[in-house]
């Protein structure tokens, strides 16, 4: 119901929550992904740069939101992802999902972040305290199995 690629400025979770809450929402689940100080292979990270294929990324985010609602029961979904240069502790992605009951909201939110990592054309380059920066790909094996 709200899908954004944010070029500059912090992600605003309150805006996403406001976009999905309505009088039928009995449960609301949020997920925020932050830039960590350590890479998956234990290197000290100084920051990340993200880029996106903007049109396709927004289209895929919309599709994922609609799928989450169809699969798990009616749910209202908002997703925002940063692009550009991010430092440690900054939010890279934020998701808010509202539904009548919490089960649907939890499931739809987890589905949204899993599918975003798998299907949305966004790329991440890690910058390190020591050594050259590197593009990092999302690894399939990390994701939960299909339900």
């Amino acid at each position: 119901m709200r899908y954004e690629i944010v070029e500059a400025g912090a992600l605003d979770l309150a805006v996403l929550i406001a976009a999905v809450r309505d009088r039928g929402a009995g449960g609301l689940v949020t997920f925020v992904g932050y830039v960590r100080e350590t890479s998956d292979d234990d290197r000290a990270v100084t920051g990340l740069s993200y880029e996106a294929h903007r049109e396709l990324a927004l289209a895929e985010m919309r599709t994922i939101g609609a799928e989450a609602s169809t699969r798990f029961g009616p749910a209202r979904v908002a997703i925002a992802h940063r692009v550009g240069e991010l430092t440690i502790g900054e939010a890279a992605v934020a998701i808010a999902v509202a539904a009548a009951h919490r089960g649907v909201a939890f499931d739809a939110c987890e589905y949204a972040i899993d599918e975003l990592k798998r299907r949305v054309p966004i790329w991440k380059k890690e910058h390190y305290v020591a050594g050259d920066p590197a593009w990092r790909e999302n690894v399939k094996e990390k994701f939960r199995a299909e339900p």
Binding site: A57, A92, I113, L116, K117, R119, I122, W123, R136, N138
Partner: protein, 81 residues
């Protein structure tokens, strides 16, 4: 015919340009143009199978034929989230 190639992320860094034009035979497919670029830049070899192809803003299969003036987007594996 000429195809406008728009590489993203790691592919863009390897080819050193955000956009390039490549001549291709009439009826050449998206996969053939991509394969030609990978031969031109051997560092692209490990991305050959995992890169998604986009013709004029829509995902296409490698066997999709291109037309003169088409834009071919090259999307390496994703890293969002």
């Amino acid at each position: 015919m000429n195809v406008r190639v728009v590489p993203f992320a790691r592919i863009r860094e390897i080819v050193g340009s955000a956009e390039l034009t490549r001549a291709a035979a009439e009826g050449a497919t998206a996969g053939e143009v991509w394969g030609g670029l990978a031969r031109e830049f051997p560092a692209l070899a490990d991305l050959l199978a995992s890169t998604r192809l986009v013709r004029n803003g829509a995902f296409v299969r490698p066997e999709t034929a291109l037309c003169d003036g088409d834009e071919l987007g090259l999307l390496p594996p994703y890293g969002g989230g």
